[in-house]
Symmetry: D3
Subunit: 312 residues, 6 copies
Amino acid sequence: MIRTQCNRLARLSTIVVLDVCAIALLVPVTAAQLLTFSKQDLIDYTAQNPFDRLPDGRPRVPDDLLERARGISSEEVWAVLQQKGFNNQYADGFQVLHPGKTLVGRAFTVQFMPLRSDIDDIAKAKARDHGVPRLTNQTAIDMLQPGDVLVVDLFGKKANGTIVGDNLFYYVMKATHGGGLVVDGSIRDLDGLSEIDMPAYFRAADPTPIGNVMLTGINVPVRIGAVTVMPGDLVVGDREGVYFIPPQFVKELLDHADEIHIHDEWTKMKFDEGKYKSSEIYSSPTDPKLQQEYQEYLKKRLEEIRKQRSSK
Amino acid sequence: MIRTQCNRLARLSTIVVLDVCAIALLVPVTAAQLLTFSKQDLIDYTAQNPFDRLPDGRPRVPDDLLERARGISSEEVWAVLQQKGFNNQYADGFQVLHPGKTLVGRAFTVQFMPLRSDIDDIAKAKARDHGVPRLTNQTAIDMLQPGDVLVVDLFGKKANGTIVGDNLFYYVMKATHGGGLVVDGSIRDLDGLSEIDMPAYFRAADPTPIGNVMLTGINVPVRIGAVTVMPGDLVVGDREGVYFIPPQFVKELLDHADEIHIHDEWTKMKFDEGKYKSSEIYSSPTDPKLQQEYQEYLKKRLEEIRKQRSSK
Amino acid sequence: MIRTQCNRLARLSTIVVLDVCAIALLVPVTAAQLLTFSKQDLIDYTAQNPFDRLPDGRPRVPDDLLERARGISSEEVWAVLQQKGFNNQYADGFQVLHPGKTLVGRAFTVQFMPLRSDIDDIAKAKARDHGVPRLTNQTAIDMLQPGDVLVVDLFGKKANGTIVGDNLFYYVMKATHGGGLVVDGSIRDLDGLSEIDMPAYFRAADPTPIGNVMLTGINVPVRIGAVTVMPGDLVVGDREGVYFIPPQFVKELLDHADEIHIHDEWTKMKFDEGKYKSSEIYSSPTDPKLQQEYQEYLKKRLEEIRKQRSSK
Amino acid sequence: MIRTQCNRLARLSTIVVLDVCAIALLVPVTAAQLLTFSKQDLIDYTAQNPFDRLPDGRPRVPDDLLERARGISSEEVWAVLQQKGFNNQYADGFQVLHPGKTLVGRAFTVQFMPLRSDIDDIAKAKARDHGVPRLTNQTAIDMLQPGDVLVVDLFGKKANGTIVGDNLFYYVMKATHGGGLVVDGSIRDLDGLSEIDMPAYFRAADPTPIGNVMLTGINVPVRIGAVTVMPGDLVVGDREGVYFIPPQFVKELLDHADEIHIHDEWTKMKFDEGKYKSSEIYSSPTDPKLQQEYQEYLKKRLEEIRKQRSSK
Amino acid sequence: MIRTQCNRLARLSTIVVLDVCAIALLVPVTAAQLLTFSKQDLIDYTAQNPFDRLPDGRPRVPDDLLERARGISSEEVWAVLQQKGFNNQYADGFQVLHPGKTLVGRAFTVQFMPLRSDIDDIAKAKARDHGVPRLTNQTAIDMLQPGDVLVVDLFGKKANGTIVGDNLFYYVMKATHGGGLVVDGSIRDLDGLSEIDMPAYFRAADPTPIGNVMLTGINVPVRIGAVTVMPGDLVVGDREGVYFIPPQFVKELLDHADEIHIHDEWTKMKFDEGKYKSSEIYSSPTDPKLQQEYQEYLKKRLEEIRKQRSSK
Amino acid sequence: MIRTQCNRLARLSTIVVLDVCAIALLVPVTAAQLLTFSKQDLIDYTAQNPFDRLPDGRPRVPDDLLERARGISSEEVWAVLQQKGFNNQYADGFQVLHPGKTLVGRAFTVQFMPLRSDIDDIAKAKARDHGVPRLTNQTAIDMLQPGDVLVVDLFGKKANGTIVGDNLFYYVMKATHGGGLVVDGSIRDLDGLSEIDMPAYFRAADPTPIGNVMLTGINVPVRIGAVTVMPGDLVVGDREGVYFIPPQFVKELLDHADEIHIHDEWTKMKFDEGKYKSSEIYSSPTDPKLQQEYQEYLKKRLEEIRKQRSSK
């Protein structure tokens, strides 16, 4: 019944209304999951978030910053985070579905654990008591919002660790507006996924469907490789791997990336002149005149970029 | 001399005559291999085959079914085989030469074992007694038929485990009419192979030629990963891995795939409407009206597909 | 201050009083950990537990059953659990400190996640608010009870994933009365540990101390390999690996093991006679007379065992 | 009925009579296995065997040579076989049950392949037609003879790849008079096996029983690692790995090992004198006088050894 | 000051002048590196070099031979080198940046070892005494010449083993005129590198910069996988891996490759006729008439190729 | 001839005279090796060495400190070295021949590289020119001194990467007075080695002899895992792995270890009292009174140890 109403409203405005339904759904689901991490817990543990929040409590990195984040690389993220002492935010070793297509979005986290029927029976009974008929991967997928990246801890499982096939991957693309997927586990129907234009990072592909696992958390802190991922983290992926960026660092990081881009432009320009050894130019010019030339170039370009952005 | 005659005939009609020559060659070769698996053995062990047989005794999955098999995925094969209790028919972990190009054909199996000269000398003497001058990878390759996929057990060998380079791979393409190759071993000249338009699955590439092994079986049961492959199995490969399908399941499997394709069409159509949660549509609609809509769509599309096929 | 009082009481009776202090400590610690799993949650999720509970809510498999469990093997555990459909209770791939010395005890679980200072600062502040000065591995170790096995999820970390060195391992032995340790992570000072008589299972040894992690849960459900471990599970380890047994199956499992032991005795006795093929005796005698002989032997031995136990 | 008669005879003389029964059993079993390798095939392919044969056609390396083989090492085997151009006779990477206890015996080979029910049903039907009620690991184990080493190709399978547990391992020890086991697969009940005094080499230990496989050959050529093992090969294992030695080289290899042993004695004696650099003594003395001294020592010791042997 | 002068000269003619500066720089750098391998050592150890030498002593495989080498494959290199008994010249297991783009150039080798500050301090002091202000990856990169391939031993290091990011990779492309990179270590900024048109072979990609290592040799013999690479070796890489070819074999190898290319042309032409079994044509025709036809074709094509080359 | 004289002298006093011969031999050998690292280089690069030097230039950690080093563990070494910023001095992943027997001695380093005959021919010619007839593993082994640990870089080679078998291992034991062996490569005859009472750390065991390599350096800096090992480093190995300690830190490290030993004594004593939580005692007592008690214990025990040592 909840659904019918949601769907009716949804005809008016998909994005806003989905939020409403998701909240309605959120309460019973979190009540049923094995590990509790309430909306208040999430707010407490992400107190440094400088942005608004989504109705489910997750920090909402603004859309314009998401857009700017499409231009950053793992190296630029590394530069800022290591300086802040955040050395555990990067995961790699994934198969990358579309190399060259950057992954950007807000982390929507899901956790599974190996099936143990005595536990799962109770979790399902609790769910039913709260009006949630099934506790499966689709329970989580149905809650996805535009701009989300689905981040799934399936503990590296290959066979029966397949979070989506082509049908659900297509739905995720529609629901997140092309956000993306990171799974420490597998996907199925790789041929089908390859034709869908959304970034995905996974450990393996396998023909089996998901199984022998139980859903233990939605939007709880999860571990992907050596990273503790918090719901609402900014997720950025390139050909190398995936960074999970705490919201409090997003703005500074993007501003810093602007400077690195300009530095790269100028460095290549100088190398193209063919007059300098690499160490005379990079990482910073040894000749004071060149140093001054660079500083002026940097200033000029930063202004151009700002104008360009504000004119949008 | 046998060869001269074969070649003369071959000028008239390649396909048919190759069969004749292959049979002529088959008897002496099987007599010389270390492990015996006679044509009668093959017929006995594939008694459930519903189709004709090739002159060498292998089940002959018909050409029109091979054609239809180009449209199936690993997931669709899995769906039927696991239901039949056939859980050991899938192998992965290969390098895929042309991702996106489906592999389809009838298994022509070849087995090698590590060289042991006392054994190999006797096998070769037996071969010579039957008029087979050499027992090498080419002895097997010369027997390939249109529609075959060359399936080779080289026990994962990398150095000197290279079943073909670009010359023989080109010949295999010509002889099988683009059938394909699956080798639990390696290939050489990856650059050369990349320019030839035939699917191939292999463990590694290496510059060495094949060596330090002995041919121990042609069209005998072989093991590829965790699969027992029988000569004549339908081989289907996609970006994920390779399925070896017993002939008795081919027809049912393809019919089932038609329904899955239609199901995917309809599911995506519904997701495109943007009105439904994934769990309302997938894997089956919860609303009885939608359920009925789907059933009608399925019926209509199945009829269209059948008409289209019969009109060919 | 709490401590001083505990220690004073502890002089009277170590075991009982430790319980009291543990409870006193338990409340503030669980309030401060990232993921919440309350005593009530634990009781709800282990509702099938047929035994008493420890003050912290964990099922208390009785001491006499722990004693009997020292005689079972992984195979006997497997036999019962697979029949119940519990196929995800076994983990292996560990280094075993003392092969031949069986591990038996009640699971006391601890979870760590990669350090993320924004999160950890809040957790520590919450802890301090509840009077817990530090949140470290020792916070958990100080809560161990006699009969416990310390089960630690350190996500396979080697460097800085060392839950204990020889000093803390010695303390764990004292506090648990030789219970044991299972860590999906590492230990340090392997030479020192080797001289201490308590079973331990670990992934690696490393000279670094624990670091770059944060304590995220005590007595919460944790994952070790492909097992969801619940606090209070019966932990049994042999040369092969470790079983985590839900309390509801312990009694049946031990009774079944008695029969297997007798079956093994009888089978070996028969093999010693040298008159039978293995298949005539094992797994059950084909000759009806032998079958009857076995049944009588089984009955007689079971009675002897029961008498022996009740006389203790 | 065959069995009853065998058992009755077996009371008189275990060893001889077992042979008789084994032959009786051999015919139907080989008729039912997937790959055919007849007694005549075996005789043909081991034509260089200089010794008698067992009733099943396997070369019978004599008991006194088995006894002498207990003193050789992998290095001594290597020295002769590489000189003969036999470089594919060694396998390693095993877990060794009793390091320090040499494995020696005649290879009794068994092959399994992944289960495929259409194939297995036919094999079992053929077996029943020949009076063999079951085709399992015990079918093969029941055929073992004193002095045999059970050599099993289970293609590296861990879960459900367990050829024996402690009961059947005990039977194998009784039937082979402590011969031994080499399995490219796993065993179960490692604690139980550890208490039984017979060498064993295996890839892993696992609590599951054997399953999801089919018996495809008894005393056929099998592959273990990079070795083609023939039935009747001399199997020799030490702390490093296992050699499979063709019978035609056994005598020469053991004579050569006598000389190496004497060479080692003399070399260490000289090193003990503390007067020489290693290169002055090893691998052969550079000083002609020392060379002569060594030759005389060698001659004297060889004579002593021969006398000692003939006096037995 | 040296640099200023170099740069001024460099305006006249980049290539020649860079050589001059490189030599000026070479003396102090080699004097400061941990392991000494002087220009004279290099000349002594590459005495079989049939070509000129670069000012730094490296053999200079001529530019026209580099050009011809773009057409060879790993297999053609293997064919000649194994015949010469050079079996340790091939390395694989790399990630290949641009599959299908052949790597060709002269080896410029660089070696790093794990940082040890007591050693590195002395090396740096020695360097400063000779006027070299820094000893880093850029010290070596600044010395690269047109036609060089940068070959780096970073002992497989991933984190902090990144020899270049996109800026320095761009410089290497400019300095070597698109020569290339082979690193037994990692690179950073894979997205950036992917847009630069130069071949690269590396073990991994990582966001960290190079660190925790010390530069221990420039143009010294280094080990890459199982290859001892000498400065000035011809480096050839394709989709499979990389060959390091001693200069004395380059001419013979390229002439031999011409014949193999013609052989491949002819073989495919014959296969296209569809009249022959593979073994009748490949590797050499069994029919004497065909053999003669091939010989004439070979002769004709070799002449055409030579004419074409001399006309350039 | 050099040898004859050495041997004659050797009769008088093995240890001293061996030094003399070693020096005599050292000059020609280093002149012939591929990479040059002269005695002066060694002295320059180990300028912080506070001890005497061996005649070959290596730092000579005194015998009494070697003796004290037998009591330290990897953790105690780690504690001091990480504080000094030396984080690259530890290697693990070895097979340990005698777990529980500590490895202690001065590093004598040897380096091999893959064979390349053009290079090796020249190195051998140079060696012969200097009167060194062979360049093999024995060339290095003949130079070992009492107290040395043979540290060999064989780049992880298994087959043909066997630095010693039982004969040479026995000689190494005699020559080094039981010093020990660390090889990033393999050994042969593991059964033989197991009976010889000297510590050894190796990657694998293999029956093949050393081959397909060339000796490229004796007492040059080598890499073992992630460590740069200098000749004369103090080598310490326990059950976990091996530390290579720069001589300048040895004294401080051993004094620090004394304090850790006393701290462990006291900690265990306190735990034995059963009155304290682990965190009240470890790593330092929270109660000021206990803190004082510990300081007095420490002072008393340190004095006892010093008296005990000075009385020897």
